[in-house]
Structure formats: C-alpha cells, structure tokens
C-alpha cells in the first residue's frame, strides 16, 4: 500500500488529497489520464486515416452492378463483384463452422477439464499456432487436399480449412481468457447443488462468458475475412459465381481486390476503384457482424461483483 495512506478509510478521497502529499499524486493521476486518453487518440488516427482512404478510393467503385453482377464476360471496366462477395461469405461461414466449435470446446477443455501433459502440450502449441504465417496455412491446406484429390485442385472449402488454422488459436486464446475470468464461486455453488459438470459448464459458465466468447469469435472472424495469401493458393481465381464450396474455384473479396490491384490492365483506374470498393465491402461485412455481436454483448453482459 502507499506509504502516504496513513489512516484507514477517510470516506472522501479529496480529504486525503488535500493533505500535503496530495498534489503530487493528483498530478500523476492527471498525467496518466492524459497519456491514456492521448494513446487512444493516437490509436484512432490510423483508423480514421484508413477508413477515410478506403472510403475515398472505394466509393467511386461502388455501384449496383458491383453488388449484383459477377465478372463473367466482363471486359474493361465492366462487371461486378457479386461472386466475390458471395464467396467471402461462404468461405468465412464454413471456416467459422469448423473453428468455433473446436475452438470453444478446446478452451473448455483447457479451463475446466485439462490436466497434466495434454493440457500443457495444448496450451503451448496453441501459442505456436498463432505464429503460422498465413501463406504456410494455405500451402498446408493445399498439400492436404492434393494428397487426396490430385494436383491443381482448388476448392472453396480448402480456403476455409486454411483460414480455420488461423482462426482457431484466436478463438481458443480469447475464449480461455474469458472462461478463466468466470469466478469459481459460481461453479462451486453449482457443484454444491449437485449439478453435473457438463451442465455447470453449459448452463452457468458459458452463458456468463457468452459476451466475451462472442467478442473473441468476432475478432477471429475479422482477422481472417481479409486474408489473401492463403486463399491465393487454395481457392483459385474465377470470374463466375459459385456457391458450392466443395466443387470448383471460388472467388472472394480479398483475392479479388488483390488481383484488381496487381493486374489492372489498361483501364487502370476502374480496376483500382474496384479493388478499393472490394475492401470497403469487406469492412462493411465485418461492421455488420460486429454490430450484431455488440447487440448480443450488451444484452448478455454480466458483471461480476
């Protein structure tokens, strides 16, 4: 404790502050508050710059055509990105279906059941998993499918598998932290009533942690929705709409944007516009998902007293 606290509990902090040593502590407090606020402003600068640039460069590329047409048969500046939008939604959805159950169950294992070697190994290796370069995840997914399906295979689901490798550690880490914070006295109370462990987890721990879990999943989704490198080598490039992740190449917004930027052809500005518009759409998708998640969070947030 501070040596400057001489007696217990004067109810009003200002009384203490007005006692001699106060101005130094108050000054430090103000300084830290200013620094903290300043840090936030600093963090907001790149955000605003980014959003501004994306909006500025992306809005010219937006049109009804962008959202409703695919690029099949599109020459020059024509065509849209509906196939890319659909592709991103499908690939990310499949990746989530793979990652979220596995990730949360693994976090439950780590937090509620785990012991001994398996637990330590899992903890350690999940950390390692966070460092897999995104392109290596893609190469691995490609090699895996090539083993069974032959060379040159390109599928939407391959992209999902590659993205899951990147999503899972984030889901596990944040879920684990969230579950850890659920106080043990809630669990103990449940056990004292004779609740079986699995019911304790599903009916008490998970709902309490629900909001934090959703945040973790949202962060993981945001992380992968803009990933390009792994998808370049797994999902291929195609200009037609494809809604089947298990059959054929599937375009997606990230690869679409990358291609438009890298090989714009003679109509350079139109292609660049499309690339930025695709980025804008990606962010919009995540924003919408985030808003939904935030509403859920607000509804189910429980504070621990």
């Amino acid at each position: 404790m501070e040596s400057s606290v001489q007696t217990l509990a004067p109810a009003q902090p200002s009384r203490l502050l007005s006692s001699g040593l106060g101005w130094r502590r108050r000054g430090l407090n103000t300084l830290m508050m200013v620094l903290i606020a300043g840090a936030f402003v600093l963090a907001m600068i790149p955000l605003f710059s980014l959003v501004f640039e994306i909006a500025k460069r992306g809005i010219p590329g937006l049109s009804a055509e962008f959202f409703t047409e695919d690029a099949r048969g599109a020459i020059g500046g024509a065509g849209g990105a509906s196939h890319a939008i659909m592709g991103t939604l499908i690939i990310v959805a499949v990746a989530s279906v793979i990652s979220v159950p596995i990730g949360i169950m693994a976090a439950i294992y780590l937090n509620e059941y785990g012991e001994g070697r398996l637990r330590r190994a899992l903890t350690f290796f999940v950390d390692v998993m966070t460092g897999i370069p995104s392109i290596v995840a893609g190469l691995f997914a490609y090699a895996l499918f090539e083993l069974f399906l032959g060379p040159g295979i390109r599928l939407g689901v391959m992209g999902s598998v590659a993205l899951s490798l990147l999503m899972i550690p984030i889901v596990i880490r944040s879920a684990e932290e969230t579950l850890k914070i659920v106080p043990s006295h809630l669990r103990e109370a449940a056990y004292a009533l004779g609740t079986p462990k699995w019911k304790t987890i599903t009916k008490i721990v998970l709902p309490t942690a629900f909001a934090g879990l959703v945040t973790g999943v949202m962060i993981a989704i945001a992380r992968i929705v803009g990933e390009t490198a792994p998808l370049l080598v797994t999902t291929g490039v195609v200009d037609s709409m494809n809604t089947d992740p298990f059959n054929g190449r599937m375009q997606n917004l990230a690869v679409y944007a990358y291609n438009e930027y890298r090989s714009p052809g003679v109509m350079k500005q139109a292609s660049y516009d499309k690339a930025w518009a695709a980025a804008l759409t990606l962010i919009a998708i995540v924003m919408i998902l985030n808003v939904a998640a935030r509403l859920v969070y607000r509804r189910y947030k429980t504070e621990i007293r």
């Binding site: 902090p13 502590r25 959003v51 785990g114 950390d127 880490r173 914070i181 962060i219």
Partner: protein, 317 residues
C-alpha cells in the same frame, strides 16, 4: 436428501444427480472436449510434419543447389533477423498502446460510449491486410519521408537512423508501425475483456482507501489483467511474426541485414519472402521456402516458451 421439491431447478438436478444420466452426460461432454483438444494437436502435428517433410530436402542440400547459392543457414538468417526485427518493433509500439487504449475504454471514458469506442478499435482488425499494405505505401510511407530525412540529419549517428533516408518511405520503420496498427486490436480486445472484469470489490476497496483513479488502476486492474495482457501480446506477436501480405507490399526488400530502420535496403521477413518467391519457384527452391516456414515455426515456439516462462515466474511470486 430426504425430501426433494421436484418443481425447482435445483430439485430436478438433485433428483437426476443420483442417476446414471449424469455420468453419461459428463462422459460425453468431457470426451468431446478432449477430442477437440486432440484434433487441434493433430492438426498442428500435421502442419509440423508438412513443414518438415517438404522442407527437409532443402535442409540437407548443398549450397550450390539452393537459391542464391548460399547454404540454408546463410539463406534463412537474414530472413529470421528481419522477421524478429519487424515483429519486435510492432510489439514494442502496440502493446503499451493497446493497454492504454483498453484502460481508456474500460476505466476512463464515460461508460455509455465505451462500447462504441471498443467497437471502433475492433474495426481495425477488420481491415484486410492488403489494404494495410496499400495504406502503408500510399499514405504512411510518403508521410514519413520528411520525418525520416529529419531523423537522418539530426540523429543519424544512431545506427537505427543511419539512412540514407528512403524517398518512398517503404522502410522497416513503416512496416513495423503498420504491423503495430494491425495487432493493436487483438491485444487491446483481450486486455479490455480482462480489465472490464476486474472485480468491483477490489476497485471500490482501493477507492475507499483514497486512491486516485490511476492508483486504483495500478493497484487492482493492471495486476488482475496482467496474464491476459501477456496472452494478448502473444497473440499479437504471433500475428506480427506471420503477417504476409502487408509486409510483402510495403517493404523494400534489398537483402541487407541491418538495424537501419529508415533506408530502402531492408532484410525481408520469412513470410514475405515466401509470398514473393513462391509463385515463380519450382523444385528445390520451393522446399527451401517451406523450410524457412519451419524456421518461423521454431521462432514462434521459442518466443512463446519465453513468454510462458515469464508468466510462470510472475505467478510464482
């Protein structure tokens, strides 16, 4: 428990407790959890095996067969150096900033807008990595050119500012800063959850004893959230070590191993190197690239071992 009221929830649970149903439910659930854990380990083992298998030919090949005619160690050392440099730079900038941002949202800002602010920070995570790359070369890079010129003039005697300052701004400094912005939302989100869940009792106790807001934070929130922050930092560091597209687009890769942050001659990172060279590579060159991926795997392993050790030591105190 003689008489149990079957209409209450607790009563029903107690009634079921003595039955075999509980054991089955528990068994199924715990087995599923273990299965999930094993699946992940298997997946990771698969990745490791893949890297080893594909990378092995390059590890045992002689220098003349490998790209650039160097031995594998000579090939990967500058890349490893660049990877660690960029990631360290990013972490150094991002972690303190993320902690401050998390504190701001949970303890300084008015509670009504805290959620919106958190949402804004999380938006940074949604931006695709290529866009970060493009932002780096179109906006941040050119903006830093005058700053780097100034650094070279005034502080050029320090090796990291030796220069000559790049005219396009596509330097290690900019790459590190962009990486920092990319990992900020991850670290801050994890920190935020922890800080927000600091038990009120602890905080109110400190306030009752006359602590200022900063002192309360320092005494209760920060210690409570410490392991979460380190966890979040690990997540962010992992992301920075493995980030591919942004670095590929931004960094002017000219092969030099140097601490000079503001020049155009920079070492590449392992991930960016794979992305840059994989398309045109074939044969042993591909094996070499995958072997560098293995090295990155090892680097992440070592970094995480270090972090776990730090956490363990702190918890032992």
């Amino acid at each position: 428990m003689a008489s149990v009221d079957p209409t209450t929830n607790a009563g029903q649970l107690l009634a079921a407790a003595s039955g075999g149903r509980r054991r089955l439910g528990d068994r199924v659930f715990s087995r599923t959890a273990v299965l999930a854990a094993l699946t992940i380990l298997i997946l990771l083992a698969g990745v490791a095996i893949f890297l080893l298998f594909e990378g092995f030919p390059a590890l045992t090949a002689s220098a003349s067969e490998l790209p650039e005619g160097k031995s594998f160690i000579d090939y990967v050392a500058p890349l490893a150096f660049g990877t660690v440099l960029a990631a360290a730079l990013a972490a150094l900038v991002a972690v303190p900033l993320a902690v401050a941002v998390a504190l701001f949202i949970t303890h300084v800002a008015p509670p009504r807008i805290a959620l919106t602010l958190g949402y804004l920070v999380d938006l940074l995570a949604a931006i695709p990595s290529i866009i970060y790359g493009l932002w780096g070369i179109f906006v941040l890079g050119p903006a830093t050119v005058p700053v780097m010129k100034w650094l070279e003039e005034k502080l050029g005697f320090i090796p990291i500012f030796e220069g000559p300052a790049s005219v396009t701004g596509r330097t290690m400094l900019v790459a590190g800063l962009v990486l920092a912005v990319m990992i900020l939302p991850i670290v801050s989100a994890v920190a935020r959850e922890a800080f927000a869940q600091t038990p009120r009792r602890l905080q109110e106790g400190a306030q009752a004893l006359g602590a200022t807001r900063w002192e309360t934070i320092r005494m209760t929130v920060l210690p409570f959230g410490r392991s979460s922050v380190i966890s979040g930092a690990m997540l962010g560091l992992g992301r920075a070590l493995g980030e591919t597209m942004a670095v590929t687009i931004i960094l002017s890769v000219s092969g030099a191993v140097t601490f000079n942050l503001i020049s155009q001659a920079n070492p590449s990172t392992i991930a960016a190197n794979i992305a840059l060279n994989f398309p045109e590579s074939s044969g042993l060159a591909i094996n070499a690239l995958i072997a560098t991926g293995l090295v990155l795997f090892a680097i992440t392993l070592v970094t995480n071992m270090g972090a776990r050790w730090i956490i363990a030591r702190q918890q032992g105190e």
